[in-house]
């Protein structure tokens, strides 16, 4: 069952929200011992919310569009009076004093927040192995990583421990784990979902999105969480582009860049198969070029790390979070608290970012990266004057094994090579699972990228492909 039909049945009184939630809680209890998708299950507040919904239905009061739908949230979104850790020791005991706008919107539509999911610490990573607490396993093959940084949210939906989950995507953190776990993952247009209440990694790139098992639920979830928010100055007042969708009028661009070479054979096979399917549906395929995307990876790491080095300054142990008891001076208090609280990848990025913002290096790194970012944006702008959607694989490889890339940060960073350009350009992109699995049972994801505020056309094309 998908989210829409569950919500409809709850609304009509055909099934009870409490039954659904109990069902999901049982399933989590059974499955998550192995998968470890959740850092915490909010059983009490979830059941309380479900009872409220059932009461409303019984009293014939209106209920929301997500009535009784179990939703998991990534552990970097605030849910009032619930713990939020960013999978970091520094926030191990942090209780949210308010709720994120996206969470509030879910609750307003009577979704049930069922728990918070594992992730790479502060969303930095591509395998969820950077969590300070535990490793999440890929439900398709437990020897493999679920991807990251929203690995827990992807695994929760893949193992049907939630119908919808929220993730955050800064350079691919929704799309890459979606591809690895065989689910749908949406990174919306920058500015379409409020970032208020999302613990920031890189402010100019972070975007909340969702995981689902089908395009319809994705469309519904997106319609709930998106929209202008006065509390987020970068949230846009622009609406979805209204355009009648006709696949025969759709032009799909295939980038002819060097990084398209060297794909894993199975991914190449599925990629060609998808092109064929789209042709069969009547779409026209065009070769395009996004010449500056070859610099996307270093550009991304300079901008994202620079912003992160500043955003994570607030975790200083003074007002909340881990603070060292051993310090004998203010400077040591900072050094010890942050030294004990942050994991190695977070430290690496803070140092990288601090360096690139420093006097004498700022122009050569940060400013230069911003200039290249503009060039990349222009590449997309130009491409979208000729085509409607860009098709690439989501990742160059399928899910790798635990420990495979942990020792080599660069090889880990390369797993986001296809997803980072859209993040830098701020456009919307989605990863959709292909039907055929690898011999290891792993999934392949295809990435569809469209122009700003054009998510609707992505949902339409995914709908056609999934039929």
């Amino acid at each position: 069952m998908n989210a829409i039909s569950i919500a409809n049945k709850v609304k009509s009184g055909e099934i009870k929200a409490t039954d659904i939630i109990n069902d999901y809680l049982d399933r989590i209890k059974e499955k998550d011992k192995k998968i470890n998708a959740f850092l915490e299950v909010f059983a009490d507040s979830a059941l309380k919310k479900a009872e409220e919904i059932d009461l409303k239905v019984a009293q014939k009061k209106p209920v929301g569009t997500l009535a009784g739908v179990p939703v998991a949230i990534k552990d970097n979104m605030l849910y009032k009076n619930h713990r939020m850790t960013c999978a970091s020791k520094i926030l191990e005991n942090y209780i949210s004093p308010y709720s994120a706008t996206a969470v509030e919107k879910l609750l307003e539509e009577d979704a049930v927040i069922i728990g918070r999911t594992n992730m790479d610490e502060f969303a930095m990573g591509s395998s969820t192995e950077n969590s300070a607490f535990k490793n999440t396993k890929n439900p398709l093959n437990e020897k493999h990583v679920p991807g990251g940084s929203s690995g827990g949210s992807a695994a929760a939906v893949a193992a049907t421990m939630a119908l919808i989950s929220l993730g955050s995507d800064t350079g691919g953190s929704i799309r890459q784990p979606a591809a690895f776990c065989g689910v749908y993952g949406l990174k919306p247009t920058y500015g379409s979902v409020s970032r208020y209440g999302l613990a920031a990694f890189a402010s100019s790139l972070d975007q909340i999105g969702c995981f689902t098992n089908n395009p319809e639920d994705m469309k519904l979830a997106f319609s709930v969480i998106s929209g202008h928010d006065k509390k987020d100055s970068t949230s846009s007042i622009l609406q979805q582009t209204e355009k009648k969708f006709d696949i025969k009028a759709i032009k799909i661009g295939i980038p002819k860049e060097p990084f398209m070479e060297g794909l894993e054979p199975k991914i190449k096979e599925e990629f060609l198969l998808t092109i064929q399917k789209l042709k069969n549906l009547g779409a026209s395929m065009l070769d395009i070029s996004l010449p500056n995307t070859q610099y996307a990876l270093p550009t991304y790491y300079i901008i994202a790390s620079g912003e992160a080095s500043s955003n994570l300054g607030r975790y200083d142990g003074t007002r909340y979070g881990l603070n060292s008891k051993k310090a004998d001076s203010l400077i040591n208090f900072y050094k010890l608290s942050r030294g004990e609280g942050f994991g190695p990848e977070v430290k690496r990025r803070i140092m990288l970012g601090t360096y690139s913002l420093s006097a004498g290096y700022y122009d050569d790194y940060y400013i230069k990266a911003q200039k290249i970012r503009t060039l990349i944006k222009n590449d997309f702008k130009k491409a979208f004057t000729e085509i409607d959607i860009i098709l690439t694989p989501t990742t160059p490889t399928t899910a790798f094994k635990f420990g495979d890339k942990l020792k080599n940060p660069i090889s880990m960073y390369l797993s986001d090579i296809f997803t980072i350009p859209a993040s830098l350009a701020g456009v919307c992109a989605v990863s959709a699972p292909c039907k055929n699995k690898t011999e290891a049972g792993l999934s392949v994801g295809m990435q569809f990228t469209s122009n700003h505020f054009n998510e609707t056309s992505l949902f339409s094309i995914l709908g056609l492909l999934s039929d």
Partner: protein, 481 residues
């Protein structure tokens, strides 16, 4: 050795009078408010909290910048200034760096050599930090306490060019700036409350040299006097160093009010690298030409313009014109008097000496004056038409201060009007002269002042009602026969 020239630039921080903070909806509270009683997720920097620009702060900042003749940038951006300190919750201050709100202004000041323009480099918006409490009274605390009520309060930083060359010029510049800012009601400018803060950048160089000397920054200045005194001290200190053939160290120094000395806090060479970069949580501030001109129009007549007009239009002297443009209420009180028929110079005099004296003695503001402009206008008319003497006018003021009444009615009712009847005055004068033969001798031998005591006696006899002009001429007439 050639003469040394002092070169000073001032950095002013003005606390803007908004209801709420710069980037959140928390109220601005007074210093007396309970610690941490006006805080929220944004100003305590909880994870996920985001800043939203306070439009009123932009308006007040623009107003201030335009009042000191700056140009408002059509496009300005906020930037993060990164440093760690416990009273800085985000570990960065949101400020403006490369593209400030406003640039290129000036303030005109009066110097002994005439008028001088002090150029303003820039004016930019930023948020205040919180307050660290290390001790209570003389008792040192075991832990530092942090109060975040002040964190996020909007500030406007106004940076001058190094155009100031003496402690007096710095003082005048500050006075002029404060007067203007209070006038347009963008800040209360109370230095003791930290609503106006001033850092001094000072260096000395040989008069003919083009290149500036080593810059020293002075902080912790709690009054205009401290600014002046610290500059005097620094000039002496630096002159001494240079005269001894040594070089001044570029450092940041703290002014110690009690010892009247500056002490080095840190060397400029070891200064923080603030790693400024554009604030990605905020979009650029775009202000149209229409917005600028609308605010410019709302400024009205600024004090220095008003003062010039008072001198020209009402023939006031510089002192009175300056005094009457000290604040908006006072100047409109004065102009009300004139509109109600009070002769300008007489009204100005009545306000400047008589009314202000009484207000100051009672610690009252002009807006709380029991004497309304109508009464001053009437008094001025009575004086002008010589119906009453200056002495009587003082008595009238005393009476109406206690019990607000129309002076005209009071005079009519109490027969306090001036006596101009020559026969009556002659009678009083004869009586007085009879009792003072010595005064007659003195006057005759050339001492004009000798008629003073005679005048005094007549005034006493007439209860101050004798017309002084007529009285004086009658006395002279009687003496000279």
């Amino acid at each position: 050795m050639s003469d040394l020239q002092t070169v000073i630039g001032l950095e002013i921080h003005l606390q803007l009078k908004t209801k709420t903070k710069m980037f959140c909806a928390c109220a601005q509270t007074s210093q007396e408010a309970k610690a941490n009683s006006s805080i929220c997720p944004v100003c305590t920097s909880q994870p996920g909290a985001l800043p939203v620009i306070n439009k009123k702060a932009v308006e007040l900042g623009s107003k201030a910048a335009l009042a000191i003749n700056c140009t408002i940038a059509p496009y300005s951006i906020f930037a993060r200034k990164n440093y760690f300190y416990p009273d800085l919750p985000k570990s960065y201050q949101i400020s403006q760096f490369e593209k400030p709100l406003a640039q290129r202004g000036h303030i005109k000041i009066k110097t002994p050599d005439g008028e001088k323009l002090i150029s303003i480099t820039r004016a930019h918006l930023e948020e205040d930090a919180g307050k660290s409490l290390h001790s209570i009274g003389s008792k040192n605390l075991e832990h530092t306490l942090i109060d975040l009520n002040r964190a996020g309060i909007p500030l406007l930083e106004i940076v001058s060019e190094p155009d100031i060359n003496s402690p007096e010029e710095a003082y005048t510049y500050l006075t002029e700036l404060k007067k203007t800012m209070k006038w347009i009601e963008v800040s209360n400018c109370d230095m003791e409350k930290g609503e106006l803060r001033c850092d001094v950048n000072i260096s000395l160089k040989p008069k003919e040299a083009v290149e500036l000397g080593k810059k020293v920054e002075i902080k912790n200045l709690n009054s205009f006097k401290a600014v002046k005194d610290s500059i005097v001290y620094e000039i002496a200190r630096q002159t001494n160093i240079i005269k001894n053939g040594e070089t001044v160290l570029s450092d940041t120094r703290l002014w110690n009010d009690k010892e009247e000395k500056t002490y080095s806090m840190r060397s400029k060479e070891t200064a923080n690298d603030y790693r400024y970069f554009p604030e990605p949580d905020l979009i650029a501030l775009k202000l149209s030409d229409e917005y600028s001109s609308e605010i410019k129009n709302s400024l009205g007549e600024l004090p220095h313009r008003k003062k010039a007009r008072f001198i020209k239009q009402y023939a006031l002297n510089d002192y009175d014109a300056n005094l009457l443009t000290a604040n908006k209420n006072l100047s409109s009180y004065f102009e009300n008097c004139v509109e109600l028929g009070g002769e300008p110079k007489i009204s100005a005099n009545l306000i400047a000496t008589e009314l202000m004296g009484r207000l100051n003695a009672n610690k009252l503001e002009i807006k709380d004056s029991p004497i309304i402009p109508q009464y001053i206008a009437e008094l001025a008319q009575l004086l002008k038409s010589e119906k009453i003497s200056a002495t009587i006018s003082k008595q009238v003021l005393d009476k109406i201060w206690e019990k607000p009444t129309s002076p005209k009615e009071l005079i009519e009712a109490s027969e306090m009007s001036q006596v101009s009847d020559e026969n009556q005055i002659r009678e009083w004068a004869k009586e007085a002269l009879d009792k003072n033969p010595k005064a007659i001798e003195d006057f005759k031998s050339g001492n004009e002042k000798a008629i003073g005591p005679i005048m005094g006696m007549i005034m006493k006899k007439s209860k101050g009602k004798a017309n002084p002009k007529i009285t004086s001429s009658i006395i002279k007439e009687l003496i000279q026969g």
